[in-house]
Amino acid sequence: MDILNEISLFLQTSVQMGTHILFAIVGGIICEKVGNTNLGVEGMMLMGAAMGFTVACSTGNPVLAVLAAGAAGLAGALIYAFITVTLRGNQVVTGLVLTIFGTGFAGFIGKSVSGNIVPESVVSAFRPYDIPILCDIPIIGKALFSQSIYVQMALVVAILAYFYINKTKMGLYMRAVGENPAAADASGVNVTFYKYFNILLGGFLCGVGGAYLSIVFLTTWQDNVTAGAGWIAVALIIFSTWNPLKAILAAYLFGMLKGLNFKMQGWGIQVPSQFLEMLPYVATIVVLVFITLRKKKENQPPKALGDPYFREER
């Protein structure tokens, strides 16, 4: 019983540590599925974290706070979309710039709110709650059913994103744009609209993910709160082979990683933390090698990923 309890508490923390990353991976997948590599994930997360925190503190309204966080991520994505889609700028450079911009923006906004604490109304709205009976399931009960609604939202969003991408007409069009924008264009799909819509949607999710850290997990403002989580998300997009369902696994596995290190310290096992920090990237490289060798169709990156689309250039 004790060991079961310990495992379930461990998983509960791991899921919390994977939540902001899950939002970010799903946001990144949606963006990459229309053919845009967005390295600005970290920047959009930070923008969301800062705006969400500011609005949470000034209004005390949890819904507004989440919306503001999403809007901030969306605003960052709008800059990115305008440069890469309308002006056809280089996606890698633009993404990097967005991360640098977002970090500065968040630091600037954060200056005026540092020292504040998230008001009680928001804290209680996102406090972990037990779903009766389900939360008593051994091992996974606490991880899934004794959590904040924000954590559960991430899971729901990932599942919805899967259906959106794979089972809806809009998802079909978006995938077409990401695979072969010229063909999509020829068949009457509005490429610019689909690119904008999905990049902005992805940005919204990244912003919401960042805000999880500032308004739910930490409830105080800490500068550069994501501390590189956005980059891990970029790597895990590939690890999950652009599939939001696998993203759930990737995010929670990552959330487990640090916790496992702490556990092992308790057992007296020493693992250099540099090794653990390397793992998500090593795993990503392994997956990249694997999918390039196996050439399984559903695991491939969108064909037109990274290429700006010029209608006149065929």
């Binding site: 919390q16 200056k111 933390s273």
Partner: protein, 377 residues
């Protein structure tokens, strides 16, 4: 015509300021008179000392750098001009660039507040022999470069007393950054404090291998709390471990800076630095012309470190025990690192009645008995 007039005025202004600067530096006695006179009016001291600070973090980080910046503000209150560069990366090139920026702004006394700034500060001290430097927490000194630090382990010993009195599980968690002597020393002093009032209690340590990563710090604290500890102490730069303690209904002890606001339902006290003590003393020496390179390492007695006021959550009788220990440390009758001290395996490391020297304390690399955890390689 107008331009000529302006130029003439500027030139006159330059001449004037140049003169007044020469005046102060050439005759010490007159400048001292001036400074006392103007000090009473609480305006600028008549000195050419301008102080620059190189910070590892942001001045409002609610932790390490904010504590330093309180010291800078105290220097400003003396009427001395200051400047700072924040968020400087711990590389030699970034350190040098930040220092050059400050020197360009006219600073002639420069403090660098993080261990990783050491090499860069040494390099700059050699390049600018007329500028005075002081580096926090390092061990390299030059003729124009001091080192300074606070004996925060003494405050941690007092914090240990608070935790030892509070814990009911007799298990205390400690979220630590890196396995270096500064951190180990703090854990040991804290544990000795705990065991001085509660010999049965143990201190369980996890290392995060980062000074600053709020989410990871909180995760580390949650892991400890899940294992059953009921007080969390920390050697980390954010309040995240304290937030974790509050969430799990446990108690916490802060570091660097009083942070009762971050976790009001969990906060017991914090082991803090009062950097103003060193900064004002050192700047005064520069003004008086008595500045010389030194190794400054002071604690409770010099008011360089202190324990924050105890919150209402502390166990009954804690205040008395803390006061007694504090007074004993200040008058020298108590030194936490006095034998008999045993390591984790029970081997006698320090003989009964023997006090460890400052050097031994500074370089500590083993855990005392009562600490549960291993020092990362």
């Amino acid at each position: 015509m107008k331009k000529k007039l302006l130029a003439a005025l500027l030139a006159a202004a330059c001449l004037f300021t140049g003169c007044s600067n020469n005046g102060t530096s050439s005759s010490d006695s007159s400048s001292a008179d001036n400074s006392t006179a103007s000090g009473e009016n609480s305006t600028a001291v008549d000195t050419d000392v301008k102080v620059g600070f190189v910070y590892i973090g942001k001045i409002d980080d609610g932790g390490y750098t904010q504590a330093h910046d309180a010291g800078r503000l105290a220097v400003e209150a003396m009427g001395v001009e200051t400047a700072y560069v924040e968020d400087v990366a711990e590389t030699v090139s970034d350190t040098c660039e930040a220092i050059r920026t400050l020197i360009d702004e006219g600073c002639n006394l420069i403090y660098t507040n993080s261990f990783g700034f050491m090499e860069g500060t040494v390099e700059m001290a050699k390049e600018y022999p007329d500028v005075k430097f002081a580096h926090c927490s390092g061990y390299m000194r030059e003729d124009n470069m001091s080192t300074y630090f606070g004996k925060v382990y003494q405050a941690r010993y007092l914090a240990g007393i608070v935790a030892g009195m509070k814990t009911e599980a007799n298990r205390i968690g400690y979220v630590a950054a890196k396995g270096i002597p500064e951190v180990i020393r703090g854990i040991n002093a804290f544990t000795l404090g705990v065991q001085s009032v509660n010999p049965d209690a143990t201190v369980e340590v996890v290392f995060t291998d980062t000074w600053y990563d709020p989410a990871v710090e909180k995760q580390a604290a949650l892991e400890l709390l899940n294992k059953g500890v009921d007080v969390i102490a920390q050697h980390q730069d954010t309040t995240a471990p304290q937030v974790a303690a509050q969430e799990k209904g446990a108690y916490c002890i802060g570091y660097n800076f009083p942070t009762a606001d971050a976790a009001p339902d969990a906060y017991l006290t914090a082991a803090c630095f009062r950097w103003a003590t060193f900064y004002t003393d050192d700047v005064q020496r520069a003004i008086d012309g008595t500045w010389s390179s030194r190794a400054y390492w002071e604690g409770l007695a010099a008011n360089m470190t202190y324990l924050d006021e105890l919150s209402d959550l502390c166990a009954e009788g804690t205040q008395e025990k803390v006061d007694a220990a504090r007074n004993a440390i200040i008058d020298g009758s108590l030194e936490p690192f006095t034998g008999p001290l045993y390591d984790q395996d029970g081997n006698l490391k320090v003989e009964d009645g023997v006090r460890m020297t400052d050097d031994e304390i500074w370089n500590m690399s083993w855990f005392v008995k009562g600490v549960v955890g291993t020092i990362p390689a």
